[in-house]
């Protein structure tokens, strides 16, 4: 019986303590808990820019960085459990629309109107952060996921020229191969193989095809000749990697980038986050390494990025804090400072381009006009469908017994059955 008493006593004590903490948190004014997944060294340095500016503006930043997908899961669970943080992070995709529909997020129309978002943000991103005409998220950066990075010294040594189309790409490959370098290094993880496929798709089939396929979900296009050409180039790349880059399977993207940095490999197709690796190795864009946005010049540039969302917390004071956070994050100077550390480019097109590096300056030109860029697939299709087609890309990349026709049939079936 003593034990039981002790037990109920301690349970009561626990409950009491919990309520105490709860009320303490509510009483404080400009305190914002931020759940995010930027925990690696360069990412943490980037989010610290936001934290510092927010503190300067009179807020109190409570950092809750959680590595990987667990961040979104934690955020969603706390949101559903009725104990949301003031700020949470998502990618610029459709993944948070269910939360919007469930009425769990504050709408940001007032901030959007005051900041003239409709004018300064790229149209595609505007579409994703708006639902039924209302704004629900603050985009903070633009990443481009289809870049070609190459080692200038390796190209000179082999007498190869940076590609201007796929024919000249494979000409360069032959010269590089003869010279002994790995012509194209690909990290053999599913998402990197998907990134490669999308880069090929955009450069071969173009913007309209891409949008019809993913935005209008026109599965007939998969059976078209154009798609056949896409798969042919993808297959040539696959065979090239199998022949020359034996260490590919399972290799991470940054190990792959370091092969290009050291000259072991000549080229890599990767997003602009690779730039951080070149910078931290002390290399200079245009001198030691070259960058071609969209892999093949004149192709559409594929953009993605991160947003922050602001849950309803049931507390008026929090709404003001959230408003302050929105304005800090989208401030012009903060945008440049943050994105230079992060490796991405500012989400607003009205910043001073001279403050960006040569690669970033090329990229911001492509994002200022709607005709030169598209959104990442996640802006048009659900993570479920994106994942299911990624499984097919990676299976084909690694298979020996899967034909082009198999791939087309599987893609069509997936487009028709998965929502």
């Amino acid at each position: 019986m003593k034990f039981k008493k002790y037990l109920s006593g301690s349970v009561a004590a626990l409950c009491l303590a919990a309520t105490c903490f709860g009320t303490a948190a509510l009483a404080d004014g400009k305190k914002a808990e931020v759940i995010h997944w930027w925990t690696s060294a360069s990412e943490a340095a980037a989010i610290k820019v936001f934290a510092d500016r927010f503190q300067e503006a009179g807020g109190e930043w409570v950092d809750n960085g959680i590595a990987g997908d667990a961040a979104k899961q934690t955020f969603t669970n706390r949101l559903l459990g009725g104990n949301p943080p003031q700020v949470g992070q998502f990618n610029v995709t459709r993944e948070f629309e269910e939360i919007v529909d469930a009425g769990l997020l504050n709408n940001l129309n007032a901030e959007a109107e005051a900041g003239n978002w409709a004018e300064v943000l790229p149209g595609i991103i505007n579409n994703v952060i708006k639902r039924d005409g209302n704004y629900y998220a603050v985009p903070v950066n633009i990443h481009g996921s289809n870049w070609l990075w190459y080692n200038k010294a390796a190209f000179e040594k082999a007498g190869a020229k940076p590609p201007t189309d796929w024919d000249s790409f494979f000409e360069a490959v032959d010269k590089l191969k003869a010279d002994g370098a790995v012509p194209l290094a690909v990290g053999g993880e599913a998402w990197q193989e998907r990134l490669t496929f999308n880069a090929v798709l955009l450069s071969v089939a173009g913007r309209d095809f891409y949008l019809k396929l993913f935005n209008d979900r026109d599965a007939e296009l998969i059976k078209s000749e154009k798609m056949g050409e896409v798969i042919d180039v993808y297959t040539r790349l696959r065979d090239l990697v199998r022949e020359t880059d034996k260490g590919s399977p399972g290799r991470s993207w940054n190990e792959t980038t370091s092969m290009v940095i050291t000259g072991k490999a000549a080229m890599q197709i990767m997003g602009d986050w690779a730039k951080g690796e070149f910078i931290s190795a002390g290399q200079k864009a245009g001198v030691d390494y070259g960058c071609i946005p969209a892999v093949i010049p004149q192709s559409p540039y594929m953009i993605s990025g991160d947003v922050f969302v602001f849950p309803k917390t049931g507390n008026e004071a929090d709404r003001e804090t959230q408003s302050l956070m929105v304005n800090v994050m989208l401030d012009k100077e903060t945008q440049v400072a943050f994105n230079n550390v992060k490796g991405s480019i500012p989400v607003r097109s009205d910043v001073d381009p001279s403050k960006l590096d040569p690669c970033g300056a090329q990229a911001i030109k492509l994002t200022s006009s709607d005709a030169t860029h598209v959104g990442s697939t996640g802006m048009y299709i659900t993570p479920d469908l994106a994942g299911a087609i990624q499984d097919i890309y990676t299976e084909y990349w690694n298979a020996s017994d899967m034909t082009k026709e198999d791939m087309v049939a599987r893609l069509v079936e997936t487009f028709e059955t998965v929502n």
Partner: protein, 294 residues
């Protein structure tokens, strides 16, 4: 005199009651909820939009799920039998009254102190053609030496089996050794007098005596087969391609990355049924047969 007895029993039951309630609501309740969700179209958030067997139909039309199930069977059979055999042999070895017994015991048991994640990473480095074993032998002079199972889609799953056996056989050894030490020395004396060869004693006398220990080991090992996730993520990430995917990874990917709770729960339900199917013979022997005898 009976009164105090009843009251103490009542008190004991009352004490246990909260835990029983918690266990029932959390474990059984969550299991039931998961199963229920597998019949809905739940995406990121749980909903109650009933779609019948749609998720199961999609599940079994998905190549990746089929590959995952096959891998679970390959991994399960090879890992369980491999760990049992290796663990038993190690235990027999140590039971020969070898010198420095405690040293060997520690060495063999040591891998089990590492988590599957660490095991997976260590073996990934060791088997990586560009960094590990293959490169080492090549640098040492044998330049045509090739051992690329880790990056070969037909063999990658076996490297995961190796690593898992390496990790788990120490535990089996410890259990078996305890069992061997419990064998009555008189049995050994008797077989010595009869002149039975040692290997036959092990095979026909000792192994049957170790029955319960073997059974415990099998249960422990099969649990790590079904929930096997971390070692695959650390070693191969499911690749090359989808060659080493396992069911638990399928479920977690659809839960965490792909925002499809319905499909993930359908996968989890199939896993649960697998466990029940594997445990059914044991439950039958333990409860039904005993009941019949008693």
């Amino acid at each position: 005199m009976k009164y105090p007895l009843i009251s103490s029993r009542l008190a004991a039951r009352l004490t246990i009651l909260p835990f029983v309630v918690i266990a029932l609501t959390i474990f059984v309740g969550c299991v039931l909820w998961s199963v229920q969700l597998s019949f809905t179209s739940s995406k990121l958030l749980p909903n109650s939009d009933f779609v019948g067997l749609d998720q199961y139909i999609r599940l079994f039309n998905t190549t990746r799920w089929i590959v995952s199930l096959k891998n679970m069977v390959i991994f399960g059979v090879l890992f369980t039998s491999g760990s049992l055999i290796l663990g038993f042999l190690l235990a027999v070895f140590i039971d020969q009254k070898v010198r420095a017994e405690s040293f060997f015991r520690t060495v063999f048991l040591y891998p089990h102190a590492l988590s599957f994640v660490v095991t997976g990473l260590a073996w990934q480095w060791f088997l990586n053609p560009a960094l590990g074993l293959q490169e080492m032998v090549r640098v040492a002079g044998w330049e045509s030496f090739t051992f690329d199972w880790l990056v070969n889609r037909d063999f990658a799953i076996y490297t995961v089996v190796f690593a898992a056996i390496w990790q788990a056989s120490g535990l089996v050894m410890a259990l078996m050794l305890a069992g061997l030490r419990g064998v009555d020395p008189e049995i050994w004396k008797a077989t010595k007098i009869d002149g039975v060869p040692t290997w036959r004693v092990y095979l026909h006398v000792i192994i049957p005596i170790l029955g319960p220990v073997i059974f415990t080991s099998v249960i422990l090992l099969s649990l790590s087969v079904v929930k096997g996730y971390d070692i695959v993520v650390a070693m191969t990430g499911g690749g090359p391609g989808i060659a080493t995917e396992v069911p638990a990874k399928f479920v977690l990917d659809h839960l965490l990355q792909r925002a499809n709770i319905g499909l993930a729960m359908a996968g989890a339900t199939v896993m649960l049924l697998t466990v029940i199917a594997a445990l059914a013979p044991w439950l039958y022997v333990k409860h039904v047969k005993k009941g019949a005898n008693g």
